[in-house]
Point group: none
Chain length 347, copies 2
Amino acid sequence: MTIPNDATTAGALALPQPYLLFLGDTTIPGYAKTAFGLRDWAGDRCVGEFALPGATVSAGLTPMTPAEAHAKGARSLVIGVANVGGVIPDSWIAGLIAALEAGLDIVSGMHARLGDIAALREAAERLGRRLIDVRKPPAGIPVGSGAKRGGKRLLTVGTDCALGKKYTALAIARGLRARGIDATFRASGQTGIMIAGAGMPMDAVVSDFLSGAAEMLSPDAPADHWDVIEGQGSLFHPAYASVSLGLLHGSQPDVFVVCHEPGRTDILGHPGYALPSIEAVIEQTIAMGKRTNPAIRCGGISLNTGALSPEAAEAEIAAHSERLGLPAADPIRGGPAFERLLDACLS
Amino acid sequence: MTIPNDATTAGALALPQPYLLFLGDTTIPGYAKTAFGLRDWAGDRCVGEFALPGATVSAGLTPMTPAEAHAKGARSLVIGVANVGGVIPDSWIAGLIAALEAGLDIVSGMHARLGDIAALREAAERLGRRLIDVRKPPAGIPVGSGAKRGGKRLLTVGTDCALGKKYTALAIARGLRARGIDATFRASGQTGIMIAGAGMPMDAVVSDFLSGAAEMLSPDAPADHWDVIEGQGSLFHPAYASVSLGLLHGSQPDVFVVCHEPGRTDILGHPGYALPSIEAVIEQTIAMGKRTNPAIRCGGISLNTGALSPEAAEAEIAAHSERLGLPAADPIRGGPAFERLLDACLS
């Protein structure tokens, strides 16, 4: 099941579809979350994947060249992998130019602007193709006001990056819609924006405007409407906590769900930085979040149990729920535990 | 006593010195705060001042033309005044071009970019001079690593914006140097950058790189060296808390000093947002700051008592110190209370 297009937020991009997913020469699955997100939530709009020699990561789609993808209807190559710092390595350039020559536009969510790479810019101009940076924030973002807005808001937060905040928000928005509730997934990162067709690339916003960008992302709404907002980073992340805090303050969530991957011990890419406890994340999120919404509360826990057997996952979910006194579920597995989590978020 | 030139931050902004202070045609002293700050804290690196006809405000330096300033060693003209809206009026252009023609670069902390003014851009290109916007971050800021760096660090934090975090850091750096301690003022905003001749405009940094920018601002140093870092915003500010958190995480302070203005009740520009208590600021700063420096502690309180009589100021300082069980002082007033605050920061 895919997520409907919610292209109702200022700054929305219209991306050429279907996509060919580009995996570069990546060997670390955690860096391919864009590709996995598009496969899972916009799979009907992905014709295949394209990897360079040396890559060991796959999204499980049919491997094909850019020319084969174009013949199957693809209209853009989406860069489905990230690097630390968001740079485009030299080793990718020839493959990206091959895509332009095959008739595909290029869509990127990386920090580096496609058009800043001379070889890509020249090839795109020569071939009449587009270079689309999803990470470029819209113009005119205001300073945050802190003013209360109408409607209900749920924010996913986490013990780290890359462990399920986007998937959890997508699944909760889908679950609320399945109950007949008017709910909108709000994307705060590049993959989410590609899935939803709209959103705010929070980590690319100039810091003075972070809260204002989050306020813009989930605008005033009817009292019974739910915005389900994709979280970013973690308040405990040594590099990205400020993005998390700007999103928390500007989102003014009524409810937050803590996302966690059982078994992860250290912050991804920062060995030696121990993962915070879920209890610590709940405490800090309430302590900071009550500044802009004094009624903020934790709705429950979302566990990424993708690496576990069904039995082990069920045991982890039960153990976390009992220890914390809160509903816990893996939204990707769904089931009664997930329905109880939705109940708690709505209560 | 002025603060020494600390233009040693790798990769951060570094400004050509000494300065000629430009006062425009300003008639309102409140608009010349930058010039007064430079006079007070970088007076030995200001060769004189340059005002246009109609100006009634003086920083008390020797009046001179750009050519005279260049002959006395000046290497840049610093715009020391602000206008409503942060624009550069047409009436300034001829004077600024005269400075470029005299061999001076131009340094601006205004919102408007110097290079966006065609006449200035063309003159600078023709003459081979630089237009330096202090609000524009340097290129190549990395993602924060969270890695421990050598040396000691002190960060000023606050209950709000615009209540003395820069002056407190300047005064503490001066006080430590007066004791023979190797201390460096690290500027995180435009006026501080002009005073120090180097620094990082934190509020203009893209949010993903905030902690990395703060790490760059206070690099690895000898074990007995102190960086005294100018704080930004407040962890409780509904618009700017994320800037404060990125600076806190990246600075990894051993000691922080809480800056407060007695009598201020609401966040500046956000009526209805009550000022946090000093106790709450201490608690949150430790809770968040211990993530990158588990040894973080509060060194004391800096009170901005500029609006009070000497007797009322002394009473406020004593009352805060007794209530909190911490040294409190107004660094601008100095005296034994300030020396006790320095003792506590060093202990």
